[in-house]
């Protein structure tokens, strides 16, 4: 009997583990870009707070560019810009760089808000207790500021996690890209899209719920 060639094969359990791996890659690139980006963004926020003139004239407009240009354009732009300056970056690395800078730009204002949430009298009090500038920053401003802006930071982090879906444009196989691969093979778009949606929901929903809870507890 002639063996029949099966072009499209249906969705199997193995594909689920493929999607699971892709979800891990989504998590990995989000985790890296959020943590590095938050660190850099924190420094930018501090500079914005400390140096009004420099921050307003030089740093803010630059950060503004990252906030006013669609991420997808930034990704394609950087992916094609890197070879021009002699960098040889793959999809993951370019995506990571862009997402990190994007996170930093968003976190910078959050961080500045955090520093400014600590009232001036509080700062003066800690300084008059004999703390130097860095002690004041470390023991007074940081704990209070983080508390004040934690919910909006979580918002930024979740946003970046969801926006990391766009790195699929460059060919990094995260959840969305993996779903497209599977859709092409299985021809069952609805099922796979729902599974991928469930993955994203499972990643994002608990965090946003938890953050809302914390916000409620801290505000009361």
């Amino acid at each position: 009997m002639e063996p029949t060639v099966k072009v499209f094969s249906s969705f199997t359990l193995q594909d689920l583990s493929f999607l699971g791996e892709a979800a891990l890659r989504t998590l990995w690139i989000s985790f890296l870009s959020i943590s590095i980006g938050s660190f850099i963004g924190g420094i930018f926020g501090w500079i914005l707070h400390e140096t009004r003139m420099w921050g307003g004239v030089f740093i803010n407009p630059v950060l503004d560019v990252f906030r006013s240009v669609p991420l997808i354009v930034q990704l394609v732009l950087f992916y094609n810009f890197a070879p021009i300056i002699g960098l040889n970056l793959d999809a993951f690395e370019s995506g990571l760089v862009v997402l990190t800078l994007y996170t930093a730009a968003l976190v910078a204002n959050v961080a500045r808000g955090g520093i400014e949430a600590v009232g001036k009298p509080m700062r003066m009090a800690s300084r008059s207790l004999g703390m130097n500038y860095w002690q004041d920053m470390r023991y007074v401003v940081f704990p209070i500021g983080v508390r004040a802006v934690f919910p909006s930071w979580v918002g930024v982090a979740l946003g970046v996690m969801k926006d990391s879906a766009l790195v699929s444009v460059l060919g990094y196989v995260e959840l969305v890209k993996a779903s497209q691969v599977l859709i092409t093979r299985t021809q069952e778009p609805l099922l796979i899209i729902l599974v991928v949606g469930a993955f994203y929901f499972a990643l994002s929903y608990p965090v946003s719920r938890y953050a809302a809870k914390i916000e409620k507890r801290w505000s009361s």
Binding site: V65, S68, V69, P70, L71, I72, V73, Q74, V76, L77, N80, F81, I84, I85, G86, L158, K162, D163, A165, L166, S168, V169, V176, S179, I183, E188, P189, L190, L191, I193, L194, V196, G197, Y200, F201, S204, Y205, S208
Partner: protein, 220 residues
């Protein structure tokens, strides 16, 4: 290192087309925003006063819209529903996806706005002899509008930026058009650089106009 020629000619030649595509972007974003506001109001009311089905539908809508990537939502309307035999044009995919997403975010904003107005305001208006419609349009809505105005302008900027996802479902708004030209001429970097500038200017103009409006109407 920098032996790269930036080819101005192809970009300048298609600049009118790009600008026109920019108008398309604004158009689809405005329409999506309008739909988002209308649906978002229903969602907010559903969350606050809705009974049973209305409440749960609003809750599910809001949680889904906020906890999955916009790209995923576009793909759902694009490829997912295709499996059920519901085919949208690229324009409809973008419009549906953006409205769905925006309605979810605005719904939460509006809910916060409504909750910020004390109940006594409505009671006072009613006891002055206004009917419910008058009390809402003359007392409540102006106050809520003031609260949600800035989140709303931010959301509009997000919608403009998110509409760039149209490129991935084949809609030729600004990014889609750019992609079209870029793949025709292989000058990817040039086209996307110019597009980034156009987006930046569009966002700046939107924010400028919204500030102008605010300074005119929120004087007191």
């Amino acid at each position: 290192m920098f032996d790269y020629n930036f080819h101005w000619r192809p970009v300048l030649k298609s600049l009118p087309d790009l600008l026109e595509a920019g108008l398309t972007t604004l158009q689809v974003a405005s329409l999506a925003m309008l739909l988002g506001i209308l649906i978002g109001l229903c969602l907010a009311v559903g969350r606050l006063k809705g009974n049973g089905l209305w409440y749960w539908l609003s809750t599910i809508w809001i949680e889904l819209a906020r906890n999955t990537p916009a790209l995923f939502q576009l793909f759902f309307f694009g490829f997912g529903l295709g499996a059920l035999g519901i085919h949208f044009s690229p324009y409809m995919i973008v419009l549906a996806g953006l409205s769905f997403n925006t309605a979810g975010y605005l719904g939460e904003n509006f809910r916060g706005g409504f909750q910020a107005i004390p109940d006594t305001q409505l009671k006072a208006a009613r006891s002055l002899g206004m009917n419910l419609w008058q009390a809402y349009t003359r007392i409540l809505v102006p106050q809520v509008f003031r609260i949600v105005y800035y989140p709303m302008t931010n959301q509009f900027v997000w919608v403009v930026l998110m509409s760039s996802l149209g490129m991935l479902v084949g809609y030729r708004e600004l990014t889609g058009e750019t992609q079209f030209f870029a793949s025709k001429t292989y000058r990817i970097f040039e086209y996307f650089a110019v597009t980034a500038v156009i987006y930046y200017l569009m966002v700046k103009i939107i924010l400028g106009l919204s500030k102008l409006f605010a300074s005119r109407y929120f004087r007191y």
